[in-house]
Amino acid sequence: MNEHPALPVRMKGVRGEGATKWRVKVRLCWTAKQIRRICGVNGPPDIMKIGVLLKQTPDTETKIKIKSDATGIDESDIKWVINPFDEYAVEEALRLKEASGGGEVVIVTAGVKRSVDSMRQALAMGADRGIRIDTEGVSVDNYTTALMLSKVVSQENFEVVFAGKQAVDDDGVHVAHGVSAELDWPCVWPIEHIELGADKKLVKVTRPVGGGVKEILEMQLPGIICCDKGENAPRYASLPGIMKAKSKPIAELKAADLLGGATPLVQFTHFALPPERKAGKILKGEPEQVCAELVKLLHEEAKVI
């Protein structure tokens, strides 16, 4: 242990802004190989370093309100959660770590301060540490987000990266693919089942392609896996997990440092609610009669059958 003086500090977890920042710098320059060497002292020699791209999104129950000037949404009453698809990603990452006999699951988020809460939740599920790219006051789009995340992924030397198949706020299906293109990594989407190959150089994944068809694909690592809802329900954080998560480290980076001057390529210029659907006709009467009436209406009035 003496030859790696940084390790005990890392394991203890340090709270407070300054400490966190200092620790990131140390950590980001470690390669997967170095981490292996370090962990070789205590743990299994061949661990996996797994990244998870996580976004904080409004709870799916949220009624979204628009600002009066139509330039964005009113965030005042929103309950923020982990993007539901990213929860599957966290679960798969934890399972992969377990299956590969050890390793590290690192949660990477580009987001404002409140997104720390969602990161802590993932840490409570069992992830080891987090890295947040602070986007406070920076205008971002999916392109710049992908750019920033790809910098972290390459600095961290992850062997595999998980992400949700899409974020339920902007529904873009953009960021994880963008990271893969920027790093020139392969990427598979959407994925509902994952198996690690024996040599840990390949993953075998199941991909639903619609119409009841599933494909089994093999992807070379490093690569990105975008998770759909699959067979594995995301685990709940246990109470000890929640306690432990409080002291797990979350490093903080500044968006501007990673962007190198890059700016968004699209802008959301006008927000509007969809036209409200009005309740239509309720048909009343005996089953025979209402069914006959419905068929007539669908055929003659709505002209859809």
Binding site: T60, V175, G211, A279
Partner: protein, 325 residues
């Protein structure tokens, strides 16, 4: 000269319906830009489908065939497309918001440093650039997307644009490129067909969906019977999927699929917000539910309050009569 490139798709050697919609839209957009439209189709026997683009006013198309694109992988297809894009240098690249379009365009966008608007329901040209309207928060909000990049990319939601045939007889001039297979990082090992002949939900014209009320996978037969009669695809609520009545492939909603059919029949589905967001852009919605207070009725064009186990078989018979089946 700036042009528009559309990524068209085929099935059994024929152009997909949403690709015809896309071609029609692209030709209309190109008119206001005074620019050509190029088409590209990838995969085995792509050239026949590429020729079909002519009917919608696309003059030139490329078919990418060969071992490198024998089976679909996002990685392989995106790689196969890049040289063509570098040659044509289109100002706008459009695809459908299908499994393929959603998988490929973000990779191209990153490589080209181009802005991307996904799942668009409106596309227009403003000040010589593409402008898009698209749903976000699974349809709870619509947003206008303005591009800040020189090259602009978008995917279009199926069933959002009309098909406009310019000349049914016209064939596009097709150039075929062979794509080699070396360096594949993702390989398709096996294709499993869990259910035969089911049209994908996102492309379906009619969806008949069942909820928790169905109570078992056997009972889903009455949903399937009605769907078969209408030539519809079967949908389901998450509650029905989680209870194991039907596979997740059928789930409509926030964590399932977004559908955009002309007719959606929701049977024994309460109409939770996460379900509504996935189907509320359907042109006509029918709800069958025994609870008159069910929220689904507030979105339905036609509603029947009653027991679906009584109503659905009768409805199926009546529709068979109408369609002369």
């Amino acid at each position: 000269m700036p042009g528009i490139l559309i990524l068209a798709e085929k099935e059994d050697g024929k152009l997909k319906k949403y690709s015809r919609e896309l071609a029609s839209k692209a030709v209309a957009l190109a008119k206001s830009l005074n620019a050509p439209v190029y088409g590209v189709v990838i995969g085995n026997q792509a050239s026949a489908a590429a020729e079909e683009l002519g009917a919608f006013g696309v003059q030139e198309a490329t078919a990418i065939e060969g071992p490198g694109v024998q089976s679909y992988t996002g990685d392989g297809y995106a790689k196969a497309l890049l040289p063509l894009i570098q040659e044509l240098k289109p100002q706008i690249i459009l695809a459908s918001a299908s499994g393929m379009g959603k998988d490929i365009l973000p990779r191209l966008a990153m490589k080209l440093k181009a802005g991307l608007a996904t799942d668009c329901v409106e596309l227009s040209i403003e000040n010589g650039k593409l402008k898009a309207k698209r749903p976000i928060f699974s349809g709870k909000v619509f947003v206008d997307v303005t591009f800040l990049s020189d090259v602009q990319l978008a995917t279009a939601r199926p069933n959002s644009f009309a098909v406009t045939v310019v000349d049914a007889e016209k064939k596009a001039a097709v150039k075929t490129i062979q794509s080699a297979s070396e360096g594949a990082r993702v390989v398709v090992k096996e294709v499993k067909e869990a259910e035969k002949g089911m049209k994908d939900l996102t492309e379906a014209d009619i969806v008949v969906a069942g909820g928790r009320a169905l109570g078992s996978s056997e009972n889903f037969k009455i949903i399937r019977d009605l769907a078969d009669t209408l030539g519809a695809t079967v949908g389901a609520s998450r509650a029905a999927v989680d209870a194991g009545y039907i596979s997740h492939d059928h789930q409509v909603g926030q964590t399932g699929k977004t559908v955009n059919p002309k007719l959606y029949i929701a049977c024994g589905i309460s109409g939770a917000i996460q379900h509504l967001t996935g189907m509320q852009s359907s042109k006509v919605i029918v709800a069958i539910n025994k609870d008159p207070e069910a929220p689904i009725f507030s979105k339905a064009d036609y509603g029947i309050v009653g027991d679906l186990f009584v109503l659905l078989p009768i409805l199926t018979t009546k529709i068979k009569e109408l369609l002369g089946k």
